[in-house]
């Protein structure tokens, strides 16, 4: 099995077990550099597990994951993570700027405080998500879409090569959705690689150029056209996606 160091992410035979049941089974996926790839599948298919296992947040039963040919630990600073909104208690006493600055903590030393430089970088990231006016706002007062954009900014500020996002489009307003799409385009234009867990088949072709169909196993991956055929989708979703199929033609 050749590990091609030009590929942003190369996953080989990944198996993840959760309490004795397979969450992911023998998944082998190649993510070339510079693509916008969506990970789609029904609920409970293991999409989030895939992302998390890439970052060693869940233990593996087998397989390897390489980032540009190297392990995650070596490439940690080149990978940025946007978790699900619900994974955090938003009643925490901090501001939008505070959260974005946290994205830089990993690069700061033990006693270092965020200074002017960090704040400037953070404000830049907030500009990109159109939240610069909210920088001083306590996060407890944010709407869902604003929370999502804050998380996005936190990832952007790290200026990573690879971005892993878990359901960023879930339950956001139209403004936020457009903002996120714009960010994705901008990242692609700078040859960054973005892997996004996505749940909405309707917008798939519009927002992304690649996709991976997951339901515990990998059913297909590659560019959208050849991957998201009705046949593939049927196999991935079982009976669940009939509505989409009807709209396809």
């Amino acid at each position: 099995m050749q590990i091609d160091t030009k590929n942003a992410i190369q996953i080989e035979n990944l198996t993840v077990a959760y309490r004795g049941k397979p969450a992911l089974w023998d998944v082998s996926l190649t993510v070339p550099e510079g693509v916008l790839m969506a990970i789609v599948g029904p609920n409970g298919a293991g999409k989030s597990t895939l992302i998390k296992s890439m970052m060693n947040l869940v233990p593996r039963a087998g397989g390897t994951i390489k980032f540009y040919g190297k392990s995650y630990r070596q490439m940690r600073n080149s990978v940025a993570y946007v978790p699900q909104r619900a994974s955090v208690d938003w009643d925490y006493p901090t501001s939008v700027l505070g959260v974005v600055l946290m994205g830089l903590y990993g690069q700061m030393g033990l006693f270092q405080r965020p200074g002017k430089k960090q704040k400037a970088l953070a404000m830049e990231a907030l500009e990109k998500v159109d939240m610069a006016d909210f920088s001083g706002r306590p996060i407890a007062q944010l709407s869902g879409g604003q929370q999502q954009r804050t998380f996005l900014a936190r990832a952007l500020v790290q200026d990573a090569q690879i971005y892993l996002m878990d359901e960023p489009f879930a339950a956001v307003d139209a403004v936020t959705e457009r903002a996120i799409v714009a960010i994705l385009q901008e990242l692609r234009s700078r040859e960054r690689t973005v892997l996004v867990v996505h749940h909405d088949l309707q917008t798939l072709q519009e927002y992304f150029d690649h996709a991976a169909l997951i339901n515990q196993e990998l059913f297909a991956s590659g560019d959208i056209e050849s991957t998201c055929t009705p046949e593939n989708l049927r196999r991935t979703y079982g009976g669940q996606f009939m509505g989409w199929l009807a709209g396809e033609q």
């Binding site: 947040l57 006493p93 990993g106």
Partner: protein
């Protein structure tokens, strides 16, 4: 008018609020001392200093503990520490530092057991905490009663340690408390970023290379040591409470963690100092309960009056809204009747208005009168010219809105 006060207070810079509170607290403490003529003797000094320091430490640590939803951990630690204390006593006598070490180890062990239970069974956190609390304490009591057969001085020290007699606190104890306060503050400041991130978003922290487990461990160790040290002064249940009350109070006044920690320390210090002072001059002799009672008062007070979050402002807002709403209704009532009877200054009986709108109408009517929109006529009310034009304008607006909605 109250609303203006609220707005004003919200815009005050934090440091001003903090300094005011601190100054107020100091004033109260000193005032009590002078007013009631307490002798500033050695014991009072020690108790006072110890209590204030303890208030500061628990205030600071309590912020992180409550944000991690582990508010009840203090109680568990205090109980789990007992077997450690007794075994330490058996091994090495009743020196305070020995007992503290034993307590810390037992407390740490207890928390490990809790984590283990959570990781390996389907029991939830509150049950796991309860199991550790009860069984460790039971074991401790068992071994403690074994030592009750012995009648040496050390045994007395053990009693004093666990059941806390503030009156017998010594200068050396204060020294230890000070030491711990310094250590805790230094560690919190040094690892500020790490603690903040680990508490807010542990997963993200891990992806950034932070050893979240280690910071959890550090925090819980600090909490254990603090609780155990404070047991003498305040007793078990009350130390647990001090980890919660000042932090919750502080949270109501600010949305920034740094400010919250500072304010929480101030609240803790005030509760500690004032409590010690009041108990020292004979106002409710046990120190610990006084302290926690004051802390609770501060907390409930904060919950009610703190600007922005406080419940008072909520109620106020609702009352104001209702008032405005009702007043508008009254105006439109008068307008409707005036239209129907083709008389701009048609007089409506007050009783009728009250019947229509309830007792609230009394206040509404007086308000409208004050603004010159209605005037009294016989036993009723009528629109003034100004009132009429206003009512008319509002009516038009409403009609327009409805048309838009139906379109």
């Amino acid at each position: 008018m109250l609303r203006r006060i609220n707005d004003f207070v919200t815009t005050l810079p934090f440091w001003l609020i903090a300094v005011t509170m601190a100054a107020g607290g100091i004033a109260c403490i000193v005032g009590c001392m002078l007013w009631f003529g307490a002798t500033f003797d050695y014991t009072l000094q020690s108790v006072l200093t110890g209590s204030i320091l303890l208030g500061i430490v628990t205030g600071v640590l309590g912020c992180f503990v409550t944000l991690k939803r582990q508010s009840l951990v203090g109680d568990v630690l205090a109980h789990a520490a007992l077997p450690g204390v007794v075994i330490a006593f058996l091994i090495a006598g009743s020196g305070l530092s020995v007992l503290l070490v034993g307590a810390a180890i037992a407390g740490w062990l207890g928390l490990q057991v809790v984590s283990l239970i959570l990781d390996t069974t389907r029991l939830k956190q509150d049950t796991a905490l309860g199991i550790v609390l009860a069984t460790f304490f039971g074991l401790g009591i068992s071994i403690l009663s074994y030592t009750q057969g012995r009648e040496d001085a050390g045994r007395v020290g053990l009693d004093k340690f666990f059941f806390g007699q503030a009156a017998t606190i010594l200068g050396s104890d204060v020294l230890i408390i000070s030491g711990i306060t310094v250590i805790v503050l230094v560690i919190i400041i040094a690892f500020w970023k790490e603690f903040t991130l680990s508490t807010f978003d542990p997963e993200f922290a891990m992806t950034n290379g932070f050893a979240v487990r280690m910071y959890d461990l550090l925090l819980s160790s600090l909490v254990t040591i603090t609780i155990v040290t404070g047991l003498q002064l305040a007793g078990v249940v009350l130390m647990a409470g001090m980890l919660v009350a000042p932090a919750v109070a502080a949270r109501q006044w600010t949305d920034d963690l740094g400010e919250m920690v500072i304010l929480s320390a101030i609240f803790g210090a005030i509760a500690g100092g004032l409590g010690a002072m009041l108990s020292g001059i004979g106002w409710g002799r046990p120190t610990g309960p006084m302290i926690i009672a004051l802390a609770a008062m501060i907390t409930f007070g904060s919950l009610v009056i703190a600007p922005a979050r406080g419940m008072l402002w909520d109620w106020l807002q609702r009352w104001l809204d209702r008032h405005r709403f009702e007043t508008e209704n009254l105006l439109s009532d008068l307008y409707r009747f005036a239209e129907r009877n083709q008389k701009k200054d048609y007089v409506l009986e007050e009783k009728l208005l009250i019947g229509l709108r309830g007792w609230f109408a009394y206040i509404g009517l007086r308000d409208l009168q004050r603004n010159g929109l209605i005037t009294r006529k016989d036993s009723g009310w009528a629109l003034t010219d100004e009132g009429y034009s206003r009512a008319e304008a509002e009516h038009q607006k409403r009609v327009q809105q409805q048309n838009q909605e139906n379109a």
